[in-house]
């Protein structure tokens, strides 16, 4: 669990705007803004006070600013009834919001070369990360993809803040026709990348991890598993992750993640409980005595 305590607040909407194909909402939320580290997200209650929608909606924090004591911006596309309700919000409406949640992206101590890979709305958390890396003197290269040009999030900003920005679209309307994983190896070689950060759908994260491992460089991924509470109590957002001790656990993406070391996530087993996971049928529980004996 992240050591920074999240806060729950009733936050007034400051501005609502459109960024490419995305709705962007900025709320006044000083407690969240001051605690925020890149990679963290907010959990937003939708539907108003007596809402029939009981689960919260999670959104990566795109930007925090010191205005009005602290503001937080998140972006989304309308996917279902919760995001449809959010898209109707206007300035001065109140949002019940919890944040910052989740394990942030770890930052390198030294000014190394970082490549940031994002697909669709998964690119959102990479922008505050890029700023944080730049402040540390790191080189930043972006590889962003989407179905079509308007779905490639914030291409202009990416070009401005990064050393290079490479784009891919399924239809070829921007950059290379294809997927981010088609161009990543070349970017890593040309930029002499030392670290990879990635955020997007699971199949993409899995391929990006494979490429990073091929080059033997560290890879941090931010996963997007279905969530309901965002605070770690409902146990719905589990992903099979190998721990330091070599044991696979069903980790909660909302508090143990969403950022994990890529090689620790068992991408082939996402959506299942691996046979050898802690507490699964193939797990051989060791008795307390065994553990005590090993501990010496």
């Amino acid at each position: 669990m992240s050591d920074v305590r999240p806060v729950q607040m009733s936050s007034p909407v400051l501005t609502v705007r459109q960024v490419d194909a995305y709705h962007a909402i900025t709320v006044v939320a000083p407690g969240i803004a001051e605690r925020f580290r890149s990679g963290q997200f907010v959990a937003v209650a939708v539907g108003g006070e007596h809402s029939a929608m009981l689960t919260r909606r999670m959104f990566a924090i795109h930007e925090v600013k010191p205005d009005y004591g602290g503001t937080v911006e998140f972006l989304f596309t309308v996917r279902g009834k919760g995001t449809a309700w959010l898209a109707e919000r206007r300035s001065r409406d109140l949002l019940d919001i919890i944040g910052p949640l989740g394990r942030p992206f770890p930052l390198p101590r030294d000014p190394v070369n970082c490549v940031l890979v994002g697909g669709g709305s998964g690119s959102v958390p990479l922008f505050p990360l890029a700023h944080a890396l730049r402040r540390r003197g790191c080189r930043v290269d972006f590889v962003l993809g989407g179905a079509t040009a308007s779905r490639v999030f914030n291409a202009m900003t990416a070009r401005r803040i990064a050393e290079t920005a490479t784009f891919t679209t399924d239809d070829g309307s921007l950059g290379t026709k294809g997927r981010v994983t088609d161009v990543l190896a070349q970017v890593i070689e040309e930029a002499y990348s030392d670290v990879v950060y990635a955020c997007g759908p699971m199949p993409m994260l899995r391929e990006v991890t494979a490429i990073a491992m091929h080059y033997g460089i560290p890879i941090q991924v931010s996963v997007e598993e279905t969530m309901a509470c965002g605070t770690g109590i409902c146990m719905s957002c589990v992903v099979p992750v190998v721990g330091e001790d070599g044991i696979t656990r069903m980790a909660r993406a909302c508090v143990d993640g969403p950022v994990f070391r890529g090689e620790r996530v068992r991408f082939d087993d996402v959506g299942t409980v691996p046979f050898d996971a802690l507490g699964a049928p193939g797990w051989k529980a060791r008795s307390v005595e065994d553990q005590a004996r090993e501990a010496g």
């Binding site: 669990m1 305590r5 999240p6 729950q8 209650a45 809402s51 029939a52 929608m53 009981l54 689960t55 919260r56 019940d96 919890i98 598993e225 279905t226 309901a228 509470c229 605070t231 770690g232 109590i233 409902c234 146990m235 719905s236 957002c237 589990v238 992903v239 069903m250 508090v255 996402v270 959506g271 299942t272 409980v273 996971a277 802690l278 507490g279 699964a280 797990w283 529980a285 307390v288």
Partner: protein, 330 residues
């Protein structure tokens, strides 16, 4: 401005006495967490002081670690949640070494929910919890698959349920009250409750989730990995209130922890009037992690507005003058 004696007395009289007694168990107030919706308190402690609610009811603890069901485990339904977590947890060793001491260090009352696949497993759990200091009560989750009968829930057979309750009551230290937790998905809840009480249950926890299903019409598959799931939240509240009402009518002396869709002080009051002595908040915590404290505050306000001095005076009040009508209507 100095307050005159009369004003002081009036103000004092307005703060209702929230203490409740469930048999031998006394709680500072009637609001507790629902098992499986609050972990072992750690996550919620980031949002409110867990020592201020009546008790923390933990996620059901099992003998061995359990991995649970694969994702997706939750689907939202109108005013409800359908879930299949599958009792994921670290097992009793880790619970007793790590989670329980932590809860006690925070000054919280710990009601420990237990789930097993056999009578023996429940006995082991009761034993371990009796050896550990500081357990306020044991809640026996009987909606757990009985491995000796093809995975049917213990509640499906009142005899099997009673056997578990009797074994836990016999094993557990005599000063630890034992509550039997039941789901409404049974042929005759009142009869089952009676069996559990006869087997030694000191109280009942009503209700566990109601079986349900959601099919994703786009993928044409069940929305949760387990296929069927347990429905919770306000969607099941009238069912839960009916269960509490019927069981209280049949066994007015047996303390009940009522739950099912409680999200406000008014909801809590409804369960108290039906006959619950304490109320558990579950799914509402997913929406509002401070829901327990809010429910408590709102309940206090409801009592003040009604001029009620002792919350206990309202327990089962909806039955007064009903002449057993509710039972007949069931």
């Amino acid at each position: 401005m100095p307050l005159d004696a009369e004003t002081v007395a009036e103000t004092a009289a307005m703060i209702p006495d929230l203490r409740v007694r469930l048999g031998e168990l006394e709680l500072a107030n009637p609001v507790v967490t629902a098992a499986g919706c609050a972990g072992a308190g750690r996550e919620l402690a980031r949002f409110f002081d867990i020592a201020r609610i009546g008790a923390v009811v933990t996620k059901s603890v099992t003998v061995e670690p359990r991995a649970g069901w694969p994702a997706p485990r939750i689907a939202e339904t109108p005013s409800g949640v359908l879930s299949t977590v599958g009792l994921q947890g670290p097992g009793i060793d880790v619970f007793v070494q790590r989670d329980l001491p932590w809860l006690l260090s925070r000054g919280a009352r710990a009601v420990v929910s237990v789930a097993g696949g056999s009578v023996d497993e429940y006995v082991t759990l009761a034993q371990r919890l009796s050896e550990a200091p500081g357990v306020t009560a044991i809640e026996v989750n009987l909606s757990s698959p009985d491995l000796s009968r093809g995975g049917e829930h213990f509640t499906a057979d009142p005899e099997a349920a009673a056997q578990v309750v009797a074994a836990v009551r016999e094993t557990a230290r005599s000063d630890i009250p034992v509550f039997a937790k039941l789901s409404p998905d049974v042929a005759d809840l009142v009869a089952l409750a009676g069996k559990c009480v006869a087997a030694g249950a000191d109280g009942l926890a009503l209700v566990n989730t109601v079986r349900g299903m959601v099919i994703d019409v786009d993928t044409m598959r069940p929305a949760v990995a387990g296929g069927m799931g347990g429905l919770s939240g306000p969607a099941i509240r009238p069912i839960a209130v009916a269960c509490v009402y019927q069981v209280h009518a049949a066994y007015p002396e047996v303390p009940i922890i009522g739950m099912g869709g409680i999200g406000t002080g008014r909801d809590a009051l409804e369960f108290l009037l039906a006959g619950a002595s304490a109320v558990a908040v579950g799914t509402a915590l997913f929406h509002d992690p401070s829901a327990c404290m809010r429910v408590l505050r709102e309940l206090e306000r409801e009592l003040i507005d009604r001029g009620v001095e002792r919350v206990e005076s309202l327990i089962g009040a909806a039955h007064h003058g009903m002449g057993g009508l509710g039972v007949a209507a069931g």
